[in-house]
Amino acid sequence: MLRFLLRRLALAPVVLVFANFLGYYFAFSIAPVISANNPYSTKVTDLPPVLPEYFNYISKLAQGDFGKTFNGEPVAEAIARVSTASLGLIGIALTLSIGAGILLGRLAVRRNRAGVSTWLTFTSTIGLALPSFYVATLLITFFLFIFLYATSGNSTLIPFQGFGWDAHLILPVLALTFQPTVKIAQVTGGLLSEELEKQYVTASLSFGHSFENIKNKFAFRSILAPILLTVASSLRLMIAELIIIERLFNWPGLGRLIASALSIGARSQDLLSPPLIAALLTVLVAIFLFIDLLATSLSRLIDPRLRAET
């Protein structure tokens, strides 16, 4: 277990450096390609060689200068600021979705017949088809029209856009939690109902444990590992969706920073500035690596069956 952890951790710095270089190289080499595809741009399209520029950047890094964004804000500060906003949003959404998902999954397990209740399969099939940005727009429309009619356009009870750790959180969190909740619920329900078919459950029942107890404690512990992995993949999906959700709800987070750095419509001198993209990519890769490491380590810790090799 420890060896596994150490091995993964040893790999992490290599990957981060690689990600940094990749981000730099990507921003560096793609800017002329994009401006060449634009017949009306005036950018110079020949490039100096990458490596000297990159080492230049690295030496600046060593001195603590991460470069500046278009506002002149230092990159480190900008990333710290947006990360707290985004990760806070995601943290709240994830916690809610884990709680609700597991709860629904447990509720949906049938006692008499094997399998998951129909309502859960049905809901999850539909739920998987609703991407979060669609849900977000539905929510916005819904609340918009409700409040238009309810308060006759005077005020909106729930703010639609904007940043704030208060009522501003409601709509974004709702939009973000919908799909992960449904997915976690489906996975939990499916795994749990399969688990309850096993013999030790029958044995426990005959020994006198209550079904609820078995379901919520004993059988559930056996399936924690796959649920963890589902949570990890939902988290990854949430981070990927941030770009659109933050744009919709005007939430100043990581997604908006990425969008402004990568978006072709950005002001020409800021488009794809290599230090910013390198830093962003490094941060993103670090987040994903951390999630991955956490999920696999925890799952191996919890489930001895996965410890068998490596």
């Binding site: 790999l11 390609v33 998987l128 990854r236 659109i244």
Partner: protein
């Protein structure tokens, strides 16, 4: 056991009862009860009589036996068989059964064979024979015979069902030995098919295939998917409007409305439009096809890569497994969006949909791989895998048979997930501005253009509809279409998963959802022979497979790695003789286009005074030698270093720019109405007096046949290379001071508003616009560097072509000139990339250069603060080289389209007026008034 026999008899299962009773009787030969029941159980009357007789032998007073015999003897008088023979038969039967008990199947078979010779219609014998048979084909034959004799025989049916579940060694044929020895009826053996309902009755309850239940998931999923497929294939045919056409003003109820149009607002655009007036309904119909193609292709690639790599990562142990695992987690950490952008742009965004498919497909397989690897790992630790391995199953078999089966059921869920993930990424890409195919440019305000998505695709339409959140109608509509598509696949996947997880998979069916009949046919006719053939020809199959794989991957690598040049090919018009500058407007077509750029600031290298001042621009031969006319009746040739090569005296003062023909001969028009021809060394070949006493008013141009054309006041003259006049035609009432132009196909000659047939000089009518416009709009025909005919009517540039006698015109390109310029352009042109330009200048106002793109897109509008502007050339990137003089200095610049400041500017300290200039690769030559010719060169080390 006896109870079972009684039960069986009561249920009507005589055969089972017989079997049981036979065994009972073997143990206890003298049990009357057994014999009595045996009587009930046996089939034929003879056997019944035998049993009853045996009872009577044991107990002569048995009433039941007596009664039974009495009954039977009435019926069976004709069927009485001599006892001896019967006993013989019975003996044989007994012996065969004994042989069975001892395990001696061959003896049993032989005995039974004898028995069947005696009595081929005995069902029992056939049943025992089926037990004794070695191969399943023989068994099948025996059982079929039983069914022939007794169609309701349950044992035979059960036996046949069991047979079907065993893999047949060969295709079932009638085994030869049995046929020969028994000489059955020649009539065809009816093979009994057992219907599933019968099966349901026969088989024990547990094995019963489930009663038909409607799988609603498949039904609804199938409907949705079929609907989406239908729209994908036939959708564009139903679209009422062109999805790319922008409608900026539509008249509704007599009022002009601007986009975006809401739903049901404008008749004919019933779902409304997007921000630029493009009809949403048509775009939706067009959008489904590329979306579905992209999504399914990407999902397929990702699933394939993911499953393969996930299986390997989960299964392999040791270093390989760890390596794959770390590769997996690394790929998982790289955000798909950035990798996708990288991939798409490296492949080339102009490849449109395929760039997106490849770019999205080779990234993002990591999610599937992660799920698959975890599942593989979980399955690997199960006991049944251990058991399989203990039984000797190879790794491959365990993977294929056990692990893959588990994963197959997850596949549909993975597919649904991949589909929505792909749509998400394409929406995000569209959101960020990376459109499929690069998008189209739309002008939204004066001089402001945006790049929006061109090819309609659902994800990208979604992102462009995200802008106005308070009017979410379009967003909801597009979202609903996406939702319906994904939902259809989800439902279908869930339904298929349910179908496949039913007993179908367990009973050996490959696909699970085909009917057993089809399944068997496929198995017998296709899969089994195919797999046998592959097994036998393994090497050849591997070789072919390897070749295919290598060629396929090579093609894929080639397609993705080879990046085509970014600049589009130009179909530039040929300059005869490859001269760098052949006549006044660079070439005889008058395009003023050069296919290179001077990006850096040129430095002055020399300045040469020309006797009398230059008469026009110089021309430059392909060796770089400049030839220019001097007003002092000279023609001068200068080499690139500034030294005069030769100087020839002419009869009259030259006018305009000389012209070079393919051989390098020089033709100069003079103010006395003549043309002088010189050879490249300056020797006069001839001088032709073209028009008596009237000045030529411009330099000549040469066509590819060497004929010379020039303007003399209001006429056009054509002269052949020997100096003879071919024709003369009247061009216009005005005093024309410019040379004519050739049409791109060199069949026509343009001069201002006239078109002439180049061979005869006959006027060709090309009516564009109306004659009363001509006075104010100063129209002119010209050739574009893209090889097309154009016409400038006022400030509008119109492409046209002649179709017989008809003129076909394209929509004109124009701009809002009213507040900027008072006069019509001095010069105009089209670059090979279809950028339109117009050059405005006078001697007393500033000069202006306008660039226009298609659909009236104003690309650039530059005000050059010098009068007396002369446009030198338009370069490869569309940049304009021009000079202007304000009496104190001369300024020459390179201005790129849309730029606010010139790329570079040269100041020439001269009070003269610029006459013209030429550029050649790396150099700029400007002829200025009396100050002669200035040469500038780009230094390699000069700063841009």
């Amino acid at each position: 056991m006896f109870q079972n026999a009684v039960k069986a008899l009561r249920q009507g299962d005589k055969t089972a009862a017989r079997f049981i009773l036979t065994r009972l009787l073997e143990n206890d030969n003298k049990n009357i009860k057994f014999w009595l029941w045996m009587t009930e159980a046996v089939e034929s009357t003879n056997e019944k009589i035998y049993c009853l007789k045996t009872v009577l032998k044991l107990d002569p007073a048995n009433a039941a036996a007596k009664r039974g015999l009495a009954l039977l003897s009435k019926v069976t008088t004709t069927q009485a068989i001599p006892t001896t023979q019967k006993t013989e038969e019975e003996l044989l039967f007994q012996n065969s059964r004994k042989a069975f008990k001892e395990g001696d199947k061959s003896t049993a078979r032989r005995l039974l064979g004898e028995l069947l010779k005696i009595n081929p219609k005995n069902v029992t014998y056939w049943l025992w024979m089926s037990e004794a048979a070695e191969s399943s084909s023989e068994r099948n034959y025996c059982l079929q015979n039983v069914l022939n004799l007794d169609p309701e025989n349950l044992a035979a049916k059960r036996g046949l069902i069991k047979l079907r579940e065993l893999p047949p060694a060969k295709i079932i044929q009638q085994p030869q030995p049995l046929v020969n020895s028994f000489a059955p009826q020649k009539s065809a053996l009816r093979v009994h098919e057992i219907s599933s309902s019968e099966k349901a009755k026969i088989l024990p309850r547990k094995q019963r295939i489930s009663i038909k239940k409607i799988n609603w998931y498949i039904v609804f999923g199938g409907i949705f998917v079929a609907l989406i497929t239908f729209i994908a294939i036939f959708g564009p045919a139903f679209a009422p409007h062109d999805p790319m056409k922008e409608n900026y003003s539509l008249i509704v109820d007599g009022k002009i409305r601007t986009p975006p149009y809401k739903m049901f607002d404008v008749p004919g655009y019933f779902l409304g439009t997007d921000r630029y007036g493009r009809d949403l309904y048509s775009r939706l119909l067009y959008a489904v096809r590329p979306t579905m193609i992209m999504v399914l292709a990407v999902a397929g690639v990702r699933l394939l890569l993911g499953v393969i790599l996930g299986l390997a990562a989960g299964w392999l142990e040791g270093r390989k497994g760890r390596f794959l695992e770390s590769l997996l987690s690394t790929s998982l950490s790289i955000p798909v969006l950035i990798a996708a952008i990288f991939g798409i742009y490296m492949i080339g965004v102009d490849k449109g949909l395929w760039a997106f498919i490849v770019g999205l497909g080779i990234t993002g397989w990591a999610e599937t791989a992660r799920v698959v690897s975890e599942q593989t790992r979980a399955v690997k630790t199960q006991t049944f895998v251990e058991a399989a391995r203990a039984l000797g199953a190879s790794d491959r078999r365990v993977l294929y048979v056990h692990v893959l089966r588990q994963i197959l059921s997850m596949l549909w869920m993975l597919l649904a997930f991949e589909i929505s993930a792909t749509l998400l990424v394409s929406a995000e890409l569209g959101f960020l501005g990376y459109y499929i195919g690069g998008g189209v440019w739309i002008e939204i305000l004066d001089f402001v253009t945006v790049n929006v998505e061109g090819l309609p695709e659902l994800g990208q339409m979604l992102s462009s509809a995200l802008v106005k959140i308070s009017d979410p109608a379009a967003l909801i509509i597009v979202g609903s279409v996406i939702c319906m598509g994904v939902l259809g696949f989800n439902l279908l996947g869930e339904g298929l998963r349910r179908q496949m997880s039913n007993e179908n998979l367990r009973s050996g069916n490959r696909f699970g959802f085909l009917t057993p009949a089809i399944e068997e046919w496929l198995d017998d006719r296709i899969f089994r022979p195919a797999s046998i053939w592959v097994e036998e020809n393994r090497r050849m199959v591997l070789a072919i497979g390897g070749l295919l794989f290598i060629s396929l991957s090579g093609w894929v690598v080639y397609k993705t790695v080879y990046i085509p040049p970014i600049i589009a090919e130009t179909n530039q018009l040929e300059v005869a003789g490859d001269h760098l500058w052949a006549s006044e407007r660079h070439d005889s077509f008058g395009t003023l286009y050069v296919d290179f750029s001077l990006d850096s600031q040129p430095e002055p290298i020399w300045n040469l005074l020309i006797p009398g001042g230059p008469s026009g621009r110089p021309v430059v031969t392909k060796d770089g030698i400049l030839i220019i006319g001097g007003v002092d009746k000279t023609a001068v040739a200068i080499d690139p270093n500034g030294t005069i090569l030769w100087q020839t005296q002419l009869e009259a003062a030259p006018i305009g720019t000389p012209a070079l023909n393919a051989e390098g001969n020089i033709y100069i028009a003079d103010t006395n109405g003549g043309i002088t021809a010189l050879d490249p060394n300056g020797n006069i070949l001839w001088r032709a007096q073209v028009s008596k006493g009237r000045d030529a008013t411009s330099g000549p141009i040469i066509d590819s046949n060497g004929n010379i054309y020039l303007t003399i006041v209001e006429d056009v003259y054509a002269v052949n290379p020997q100096g003879e006049i071919l024709w003369r035609a009247f061009a216009a009432d005005a005093y024309l001071e410019e040379p004519p132009r050739l049409s791109p196909d060199q069949k026509m000659l343009y001069l201002k508003n006239s078109v002439f047939n180049i061979e005869t000089g006959q006027r060709i009518e090309v009516p564009i616009g109306s004659p009363d416009q001509y006075t104010f709009l100063d129209p002119a025909y010209f050739s574009g560097a893209d090889g097309k005919n154009y016409y400038r009517l006022g400030h509008e540039l119109i492409g046209w072509q002649l179709d017989g006698a008809e003129v076909k015109t394209e929509p004109g390109i124009t701009w809002e000139h009213a507040s900027s310029v008072l006069f019509t352009p001095f010069e105009q042109g089209v670059t090979p990339n279809k950028m339109f330009w117009m050059f405005y200048t006078t001697s007393w106002t500033d000069t202006r250069m306008i660039w226009l793109g298609s659909q009236n897109l104003l690309v650039g509008n530059y005000r050059f603060p010098y009068p007396n502007g002369k446009i030198i050339a338009v370069g490869e990137k569309g940049e304009a080289y021009m000079c202007g003089s304000n009496g104190a200095e001369v300024n020459c610049i390179n201005i790129a389209p849309g730029a606010e400041t010139p790329t570079w500017a040269i100041d020439i300290n001269s009070r003269e007026i610029v006459i013209g200039g030429v550029i050649v690769p790396g150099r700029l030559y400007v002829s200025v008034g009396n100050d002669g010719l200035y040469a500038f060169e780009i230094n390699e080390t000069s700063t841009p």
